[in-house]
């Protein structure tokens, strides 16, 4: 954890006082709905379909058990006993009362937390790889850089009223587990031939209704220029990004309208004035931030554990879980563990207060009192001893968080959808549930192998459907809920050689009840076409093309034409 110093704490406390005053003025009728809206959104407060929704920031997904217990307290006291971990690594509460939100923020501030800029047209929570600091393929510890950017982007006086929201993602390892290509700015740490750390900078990626893969505006930006260069990008965006149409206001549209080369020139021209200015980072500052992070006090352990090996050899259920939910660690004798929040029948990402408290107890006992929220809406214990894995598994299993499905079909990313969200065209949680029920045979799931299925209830794409290997999008057709299927999306270069891509819609949409059948057809077709177990669904899509998958669902062109004629004849 990054521990606040006095100034960090004071800023958060001052924010609480500011919002308390704003809420008071709103309730007294001195602020219009419209004016208050812009202010409350900056504190994560939405007015939703049934009640307000409060989005609490979990900067880069990192959480201490003390914080998690406070979140449980708050959820119990001000909400209905459960929270929802979002794809932006935040926690959302769905039922808090407007007039009590300042009190919630004050409670959060006591554990160095807040809801600053979790919504509104400003910088949002910075997301990163949930294996930051422990990954074997680490280049830098991305948490440190996320904190550098968090400070720079918090209450930025010039960039607090951007044309639209702005999302940074930072990836510090070789594999991209932060989906940097689908963010407004994506930073991928790299080292040059001299070993100096820098960032490959991508701009203009994003999901939503106009999905786009970011373009590489700079192959290598030396780390000390990170803030001045970001400032140059943001200034060009703040001045010239469109403000006439909310749907065209993201930076990706400006990049597209200008053209990447022209956009790069403008940024460079702006940067020429800012480069080497006072915001240029210095090694002492990086060291200071690094030093304010608590670090696990690792034991020196052997690289293997005989007790673990014996349990794996004899207990198939444990071995399945180990295969999917346990991940390699850079320290010998340790592993990272995913607690799956994707149990069938439970909305993805939902956790009750009792579960939060039990998870906090487990993290204290097994993982140095810290945990992470992943953008796939699971929880990670990053530092577990190999010799503890078996007993941790038993405890996690008892809580319902041991579904051995990380990376598999039932590990669905899903937005809250029409059950909770006023923007949604369609429900998403029941769709996830129906798919999870259809694919409930674990052996079959493991046989299918790695695949990302993502569901969004509307084109705002909170469920990241564009980058699901299979993406499902809720659409509204004359008041009815229908679902479009996309195939071929990929969130980023998790494995080398397969970069980020956007899915393609395969054809007309389906009724909700048909979705499990459609997914099953796609999966069965994939199984007939793969070369081996090692060739994943997405690899086959890229090898043979989307058209073949489309035919597996709708039939070939002749069959489709015959079907249409039949429909016309019967009409």
């Amino acid at each position: 954890m990054y521990r606040y110093d006095e100034i960090d704490q004071k800023l958060v406390d001052e924010r609480v006082a500011q919002f308390r005053d704003q809420t008071k003025r709103f309730l007294a009728g001195k602020l219009s709905e419209d004016e208050f809206r812009a202010l409350r959104l900056r504190n994560g407060l939405y007015i939703q379909r049934y009640a307000p929704m409060l989005r609490i920031a979990i900067p880069y997904g990192l959480l201490s058990t003390k914080q998690l217990r406070k979140l449980a307290d708050i959820t119990r006291k001000y909400d209905r006993g459960y929270g929802h971990f979002s794809t932006r690594q935040n926690l959302q509460l769905n039922w808090p009362k407007l007039e009590r939100v300042p009190d919630i923020l004050a409670e959060l501030a006591t554990v160095q937390m807040h809801a600053i800029q979790t919504s509104g047209n400003s910088f949002r929570n910075i997301t990163t790889d949930h294996f930051a600091g422990v990954a074997r393929d680490e280049i830098v510890d991305s948490f440190v850089w996320c904190e550098v950017i968090r400070q720079w982007s918090t209450f930025h006086p010039e960039f607090s009223y951007l044309p639209r929201k702005f999302k940074f993602a930072v990836n510090g390892s070789k594999a991209d587990r932060a989906a940097v290509a689908v963010h407004d700015i994506g930073l991928h740490a790299v080292k040059d031939e001299k070993g100096e750390v820098g960032f490959r900078v991508l701009v203009g990626g994003g999901l939503g209704r106009t999905p786009a893969i970011g373009f590489v505006i700079r192959e290598f930006l030396p780390w000390r220029h990170l803030l001045t260069y970001s400032e140059a990008i943001l200034r060009v965006y703040n001045r010239y990004g469109r403000r006439d149409n909310i749907h065209k206001a993201r930076i990706k549209i400006l990049v597209k309208e200008r053209g990447p080369e022209k956009f790069r020139e403008e940024v460079d021209a702006e940067w020429a004035h800012l480069k080497d200015g006072p915001a240029t980072l210095v090694p002492e500052e990086i060291a200071r931030i690094e030093g304010r992070f608590t670090r696990p006090n690792y034991f020196r352990l052997p690289a293997t554990d005989s007790g673990l090996d014996a349990a794996l050899a004899t207990n198939r259920a444990f071995a399945n879980w180990h295969k999917r939910n346990v991940h390699p660690h850079k320290k010998a004798g340790y592993a990272a563990v995913t607690l799956s929040l994707k149990q069938t029948g439970i909305p993805p990402g939902d956790v009750t207060v009792e579960q939060m408290e039990k998870i906090a107890d487990l993290a204290d006992r097994y993982s140095f009192g810290e945990l992470r929220v992943s953008h796939e809406q699971n929880l990670i214990f990053a530092d577990v001893q190999l010799s503890d894995l078996h007993s941790l598994w038993q405890e996690v299993k008892a809580l319902g968080f041991a579904t051995p499905n990380v990376g598999l079909l039932t590990n669905i990313i899903c937005c809250p959808g029409g059950d909770f969200c006023s923007l949604a065209n369609a429900k998403s949680i029941p769709v996830a549930e129906a798919i999870q029920q259809r694919f409930d045979d674990l052996d079959y799931l493991h046989d299918i192998g790695e695949i990302d299925v993502n569901i969004s209830g509307c084109m705002n794409a909170c469920g990241h459907h564009h980058v699901g290997h299979i993406g499902i999008l809720g659409v509204d057709k004359s008041g009815e809920e229908w679902y479009q299927i996309e195939v071929g999306g990929n969130q980023g270069e998790v494995r080398s050689g397969r970069g980020a891509s956007l899915g393609k819609v395969i054809g007309p949409s389906f009724a909700r009840a048909e979705i499990p059948d459609v997914i099953e057809k796609l999966i069965e077709y994939y199984l007939t076409r793969r070369d081996s177990d090692a060739e994943r669904f997405i690899d086959v899509v890229h090898r043979i093309g989307v058209e073949a998958f489309k035919e597996s669902v709708y039939g070939n062109a002749d069959q489709r034409a015959a079907h249409r004629r039949g429909q016309l004849a019967s009409a």
Partner: protein, 172 residues
């Protein structure tokens, strides 16, 4: 009458803001008095305006930039920047550019949809005068400048970013 806050106090306003007419036509310049003219008028009648007997200020709209008056910035005792809507943040960049890049030292005034809750950031970006929207309570707004005791970023008010000041404090 809208309240003017200048250097964190409520102040009298001697300036007369000239706006375009309903059809976009350029305003007439009065015979005397202190006037703030729109950029387009300045660009069109620069020579005439240079001989204006009163004080001459200029105002930029959110889609206009300081680049257009780069060589003339120091001639103006006052530059105003318009906020067409409180959520339109372009004026913050314009202000910083005027102060930091073009060396403007005179009065930098925020005009238009200028609200209580926006003054803090505006001041950070270099505004020192605020013509509040009609309905705003000027007296209440004076407290807003103390909302936050510090800020992480370099700004016109604090050109040295917090991290450098932290390091300097740590060394001393």
């Amino acid at each position: 009458m809208a309240t003017l806050i200048k250097e964190r106090r409520i102040a009298a306003d001697s300036w007369h803001l000239l706006e375009r007419g309903a059809k976009g036509e350029l305003p007439e310049v009065p015979a005397r008095g202190d006037v703030i003219v729109p950029l387009a008028l300045w660009l069109e009648r620069r020579e005439v305006l240079l001989a204006y007997p009163g004080k001459l200020g200029i105002w930029l709209d959110a889609n206009e930039g300081p680049e257009a008056i780069a060589g003339d910035v120091r001639r103006f005792p006052l530059i105003a920047v318009n906020f067409p809507k409180f959520g339109d943040g372009r004026g913050y960049s314009i202000a910083r550019l005027l102060r930091e890049r073009h060396g403007f030292k005179g009065e930098l005034r925020a005009i238009g949809d200028v609200l209580h809750d926006h003054l803090f950031f505006m001041e950070q970006c270099g505004f020192d005068a605020f013509a509040l929207r009609e309905d705003q309570d000027g007296q209440a707004a004076l407290s807003v400048f103390n909302t936050f005791g510090d800020s992480y970023q370099p700004s016109v008010l604090r050109p040295v970013p917090l991290f450098r000041r932290r390091l300097a404090a740590g060394k001393s």
